[in-house]
Symmetry: C2
Subunit: 266 residues, 2 copies
């Protein structure tokens, strides 16, 4: 119950611009309750030009335990984390910040980027085991980068395609230790194809890959959430592919964010 809020309730923020669409206030607050915690997640809409001042102030609010970061702040938020994870550094972005203490007792933020591992968890839940499989990720932006890294760390052999070759190669360079291949819009030979572009949100968008070249046994996954079944997923399903929708892909997010936010301070 909202009337269960009190002055002792621990606060987590999700910061973005806009925030009306975010599911974290409901999802995270429910997970907190399921785990027996008196904690709540509320959204705060902050413009990019105001982010630094917001982060400075939030650090000083003593009952804010965590900050979830969404569009467009995931990259800028990294510089506010004194303790970013290795994958956050590799991706240059964070989506979650947890209050910790440094050696002198001052507040600092640990940061992580859990989008990719949440999406891989969703693929596993949908029946796709990444180890040793060939995966094509289309889109080398923030979400695509996170998926590429998480799939590689889960043992997949990953190729990335982006119509912006420089963006694609920049990602491959940042993840050089993971040996990410340069892909194309041709999905032939892959066991998994992930759309991490906005294509499919708008009627008339081209498909992100040449759907007629999809292997019928390959999984198709899409990060677009509206429509739930995108034209890409629809084409894949018609060819017999198992599909994982955007809604499926984001379903594990709250639990994985909570795992990070509620971890014992280092």
């Amino acid at each position: 119950m909202l009337s269960g809020l009190s002055g002792e309730t621990r606060i987590h923020i999700i910061v973005g611009d806009p925030v009306a669409q975010t599911k974290s206030p409901a999802g995270l607050t429910r997970v907190f309750a399921e785990r027996g915690l008196d904690a709540v997640c509320v959204a705060m809409q902050v413009r990019p030009s105001d982010l630094d001042a917001f982060m400075a102030a939030a650090k000083r609010v003593r009952n804010i335990d965590g900050i979830v970061v969404t569009v467009p702040h995931k990259f800028a938020a990294l510089r506010h984390c004194e303790r970013p994870s290795e994958r956050a550094r590799a991706l240059g972005a964070v989506n979650a910040m947890r209050r910790e203490r440094d050696g002198t007792g001052d507040a600092i933020w640990a940061g992580d980027m859990t989008d990719g591992i949440a999406l891989v968890a969703a693929l596993r839940a949908g029946g796709f085991a990444p180890q040793g499989r060939r995966a094509l990720v289309v889109g080398a932006g923030g979400a695509g980068s996170a998926v590429v890294l998480a799939l590689a760390d889960a043992g997949a052999r990953v190729a990335v395609h982006d119509t912006d070759a420089a963006r694609r190669d920049d990602l491959r360079a940042r993840l050089t230790s993971r040996d990410i291949a340069a892909g194309s819009a041709d999905p032939a030979g892959f066991d998994l194809d992930v759309n991490a572009t906005p294509l499919g949100m708008t009627a008339g968008d081209p498909l992100p890959v040449a759907a007629e070249r999809l292997a019928p046994t390959a999984y198709a996954a899409d990060l677009v959430t509206r429509p739930v079944v995108t034209p890409f997923l629809d084409a894949a399903r018609r060819r017999g592919s198992p599909i994982v929708t955007g809604e499926d892909m984001f379903a594990p997010q709250a639990g994985i964010l909570a795992d990070f936010l509620l971890s014992a301070s280092g």
Copy 2:
């Protein structure tokens, strides 16, 4: 339900230090729901030295509609209000700030100090009608000042007593248009006696007034909430006085705060 929170939920903050004791998160959130609003109040613990940076950041968070201010920030918060009410200016303090827009569309804060009117509402609910009655308020601090002003504005003839005569006279000077008398610890002749000091919170405290001089028909009210029936109220009750406890006094707060926070922007 807390899981009713969403990215569209409007945010109100109560800022204080500490905040664990505040009842506004539960009380205001319940009032918001009763009035059909998707809005929530969450507490944020901010040290005095961090208040200015916090207020600057909060103004830029676009879905924060209001800020409730509690101890020790009520005086410092006034300088963050571009539109303080007349009584907020007279008291030099605010307990509630509402987001409005100036002529150019920039966010500004309207501020009010509703503690006094909430306490007068509680006295009325307890059966005391202030108009023309003689009231003694003991304690010229923030709470006492608010009660003095609200009682005077409700038509009572008010005297104020404080063991710190300079503090008492400073209050009288700030409220010079209300003609507040200098009182003493002698309650004889008053129709209402209000304790606005901390006396009674700690076992062994002296009584705020000479209880044996209380008129048996006079109302006795106390802002101390723990214990609910203070030694002062107990003494008054034994003499036959109607009493209004600290819990009674704070009961109307959430509704009156909501009235201000939810008023149409000016």
